[in-house]
C-alpha cells in the first residue's frame, strides 16, 4: 500500500523527466537504424531474424538507460533533502525502496514497450509481420532485463550517500560487465590453471562468463527465439587455434564432460533473477540504517 503510493508518485515524477524521453527516443532510433540496415544488406533476413539482431543494441542501451533511470532514485532524494519529507510521512524505509524500485521499473518497462512497438511497426512496413510468439517473448525478457538493471541501479543508489559514488558504481558496473567480463573470466581461469582457456574447457568457466547479467540476457533471449542468438562480442582471451570448424565452437562441444544444467539457457533466468534480488537487498540493508540527516 505504502510502497505503491511511493511507486505511483515516483513514476509520475520520472515520467515527466526529459531524460526518460531522451532514452526512449534513442532506443527507438537505434532500433530503426538496425532494422533499416538489416533491410538494405544483400540478402535480407526474415523479419523475426531481423528482430533477433536487436539483442545487441538492447545489450548496449538498456543497461545504461536503466542505470541512468535508477542510480539517483534514493541517493538523489538524500542529497536534495526531499527524503526528509518522504520519510517524514508514514513510509517505512523498505517501502520507500520498494516503491522506488517499482516506479523506476515501470518507467523502464514503458520505454521498452515504446521501443518494441516502434520496432514491430517498422518491421511490419519493411518486411511484413514477425512471429508473434517470438516478438512477445523477446519483449517480455527484455523488459525483465531492463527491470533487473533498474534493481541493480536502485540497489547501488540505496547503498551510497553521494551522487558521485552512485554514478561511479553504476558506470563501473556497466563497463565491467559489458566490456571486460570475458577478459576477467579468462584471467580467473588463468590464475587457477596457469594457462588461458583452450577449445575444451571445464563447465564452470562458461558459467562464470554468463554470470554477467548482460550475457545472461543473451541466453534468455535465445529462449524467446528458441534458437541461439548473437550477443555483443566480448573478446575473451581464449586459445581457439585447435578449432577446425564452426561446430567445434559450439558450447556442447567445448565443455569437458556432460553439459550441466547450469549451462542450459533456462538457467540464465535464474542468474538474472539473482541480479534482480541481491544488489537491491544489499542496498536495503545499508539504507535501513543509513543516516539521512
Amino acid at each position: 500500500m505504502s510502497a505503491t503510493l511511493v511507486a505511483r508518485k515516483d513514476f509520475a515524477d520520472a515520467a515527466r523527466s526529459r531524460l526518460l524521453w531522451g532514452i526512449s527516443a534513442l532506443f527507438v532510433l537505434f532500433i530503426g537504424v538496425i532494422v533499416y540496415a538489416a533491410e538494405t544488406v544483400g540478402d535480407p533476413p526474415s523479419a523475426t531474424a531481423t528482430l533477433s539482431i536487436l539483442v545487441v543494441p538492447v545489450q548496449l542501451i538498456v543497461p545504461i538507460a536503466a542505470l541512468v533511470v535508477g542510480y539517483m532514485a534514493i541517493v538523489g532524494e538524500r542529497r536534495s533533502g526531499s527524503i526528509k519529507m518522504l520519510y517524514g510521512l508514514p513510509h517505512r524505509r523498505g517501502d520507500i525502496l520498494l516503491g522506488k524500485l517499482l516506479g523506476r521499473s515501470g518507467v523502464m518497462a514503458a520505454s521498452v514497450a515504446v521501443g518494441f512497438v516502434a520496432a514491430a511497426a517498422l518491421l511490419l512496413v519493411l518486411r511484413g509481420p514477425v512471429d508473434f510468439g517470438s516478438f512477445l517473448g523477446f519483449a517480455a525478457v527484455t523488459a525483465l532485463f531492463a527491470m533487473t538493471f533498474v534493481a541493480i541501479a536502485v540497489g547501488i543508489s540505496a547503498s551510497v550517500s553521494t551522487r558521485g559514488r552512485a554514478m561511479g558504481l553504476a558506470l563501473g558496473f556497466y563497463m565491467v560487465f559489458n566490456f571486460f567480463w570475458d577478459a576477467i573470466a579468462s584471467g580467473v581461469y588463468y590464475l587457477i590453471n596457469g594457462s588461458i582457456p583452450g577449445l575444451e574447457v571445464e563447465a564452470w568457466y562458461f558459467l562464470l562468463k554468463r554470470l554477467s547479467p548482460i550475457q545472461a540476457y543473451k541466453h534468455v533471449a535465445s529462449l524467446a527465439f528458441d534458437r541461439d542468438v548473437n550477443g555483443i562480442a566480448l573478446f575473451p582471451a581464449e586459445d581457439l587455434s585447435a578449432a577446425t570448424g564452426p561446430e567445434d565452437l559450439e558450447l556442447a562441444n567445448r565443455v569437458i564432460g556432460e553439459l550441466p544444467f547450469y549451462l542450459e539457457d533456462w538457467f540464465a533466468l535464474v542468474i538474472l533473477a539473482l541480479w534482480a534480488l541481491v544488489p537491491v537487498t544489499i542496498g536495503y540493508l545499508r539504507f535501513r540504517n543509513a543516516d539521512l540527516g
Partner: protein
C-alpha cells in the same frame, strides 16, 4: 505523558559532538521553542526524533513511542516541516498535498490545505520547480498539517518567508496549539520563538543551556544590565573580577561592563572611577531577551555560569560603597 522525551540523547560525528547528552521534556499541548544559533545541534536533534539519524547514545521517545524502533507509529501521528528540503520539481503543489493525504490515509481536502497555508490555488497547479523558497515552505507546511497531527515538528519554519508569511505561519501555529496540537519548533531567531512559544529551550554547542518560559527568561534577563562608561585614563582596578560581572570590554575611552547581578553595577562604576581613571558619563541598559540569548549561546555564557554560583553574597557586601559619578 510527554509529547517529546529525550534522555541523554547524544550524536557524535567522529570527534565532533553535535548533540551532547540532551535530556528534554516537551509536554503535550505546549508550544515549545527550540532555540540556538546555527550549528548548535537543533537539526541533528530533530533528525534523531524522526529517526532520520540514529543516535550515538541515549534515547528519544515521541508521543510515547521509541523514535528508533517505533518510527511508523510516530510518523503516523506527526507533521514534519524539515529545514532543508527540496520538492519533487516535476510534480504540482497540489499533487504534493494529495500525496501527503494518501500517505497518511487522511481525508483532508487538498484545496482547503492549500488555502490554509496561503498558497495561491493557481500556483498549486504549477510544477513545484517553479516555486520560490517561501512558496515551497508554505507547501511543506501544508503537507505537515495533513491528517490533523498530534505533534508538529517545524525545523526553522520561518526561513525563506517574508514578514507577512512569518505572521501567517505563527497564526497557524497558534491555531494548531489551540486545537490541542503540540508544536515543537526550532529557530535561531529569538523574536520568532518569543511570539508563539509557551516554553523555550536554548541549545548551545549541543547542550541545553536553559529551559524556561518566556516569562521566566524575561525575569532572568531583567536582573542583568549593561553599564557603558565614558572614562579618561585606564582604571587600575580589575573590574572583570567583580562577582556578578560577566564581561568587560574597552574601546578607547568607552568601557562596557555586562552584569548579571544588579548589585555589581555600582561596584563596577566605583572601581572604574578609582586610581588611574575618572568616569565622565554612565549609561545603564537593562539586558534584553536578545542579549540573554546571546549570553547563553556565546563564550560569555561559560564565564557567567561559572561565577554566578559564588558571587552573590560578596557583591552584596560591597554595595555599601557609594559610587562617585561625575556627570
Amino acid at each position: 505523558m510527554a509529547a517529546i522525551e529525550t534522555t541523554d540523547l547524544t550524536k557524535r560525528y567522529g570527534d565532533l559532538v553535535a548533540v551532547d547528552g540532551l535530556s528534554l521534556s516537551v509536554e503535550e499541548g505546549e508550544v515549545f521553542g527550540f532555540l540556538g544559533p546555527n550549528g548548535a545541534g537543533k537539526s541533528t536533534t530533530i533528525d534523531m526524533l524522526l529517526n532520520y539519524t540514529p543516535p550515538s547514545g541515549g534515547e528519544a521517545r515521541v508521543l510515547g513511542h521509541d523514535a528508533q524502533s517505533e518510527t511508523m507509529a510516530v510518523h503516523r501521528r506527526i507533521g514534519v516541516l524539515p529545514d532543508d528540503f527540496e520538492l519533487y520539481g516535476r510534480l504540482s503543489g497540489r499533487r504534493h498535498v494529495e500525496f501527503a493525504i494518501d500517505s497518511k490515509d487522511a481525508d483532508d481536502d487538498p484545496a482547503a490545505i492549500i488555502d490554509r497555508v496561503g498558497l495561491d490555488p493557481e500556483d498549486a497547479e504549477r510544477p513545484a520547480s517553479e516555486y520560490s523558497k517561501g512558496m515551497a515552505k508554505r507547501l511543506a507546511l501544508g503537507m505537515a498539517l495533513v491528517g490533523d497531527p498530534d505533534l508538529l515538528i517545524l525545523d526553522e519554519p520561518s526561513g525563506g518567508l517574508d514578514p507577512h508569511g512569518i505572521q501567517e505561519m505563527q497564526d497557524i501555529v497558534r491555531t494548531e496549539a489551540e486545537s490541542g496540537t503540540t508544536v515543537f519548533f526550532s529557530s535561531h531567531i529569538l523574536g520568532q520563538v518569543e511570539a508563539v512559544c509557551d516554553r523555550v529551550g536554548i541549545l548551545s554547542d549541543g547542550q541545553l543551556a536553559a529551559v524556561d518560559t518566556i516569562e521566566g527568561l524575561r525575569e532572568t534577563a531583567g536582573t542583568g544590565a549593561k553599564v557603558t562608561m565614558e572614562v579618561d585614563g585606564t582604571p587600575d582596578a580589575d573590574i572583570a573580577e567583580i562577582d556578578g560581572v560577566a564581561d568587560v570590554t574597552t574601546d578607547g575611552g568607552t568601557l562596557v561592563v555586562s552584569c548579571h547581578d544588579p548589585t555589581a553595577k555600582a561596584e563596577a562604576i566605583a572601581r572604574a572611577n578609582g586610581d588611574g581613571a575618572t568616569v565622565r558619563d554612565v549609561h545603564i541598559e537593562e539586558t534584553s531577551l536578545e542579549d540573554l540569548f546571546t549570553m547563553y549561546t556565546t563564550g560569555a555564557d561559560a564565564d557567567r555560569t561559572g561565577e554566578s554560583g559564588t558571587g552573590r553574597s560578596d557583591a552584596d557586601g560591597q554595595t555599601t560603597e557609594q559610587p562617585e559619578v561625575v556627570a
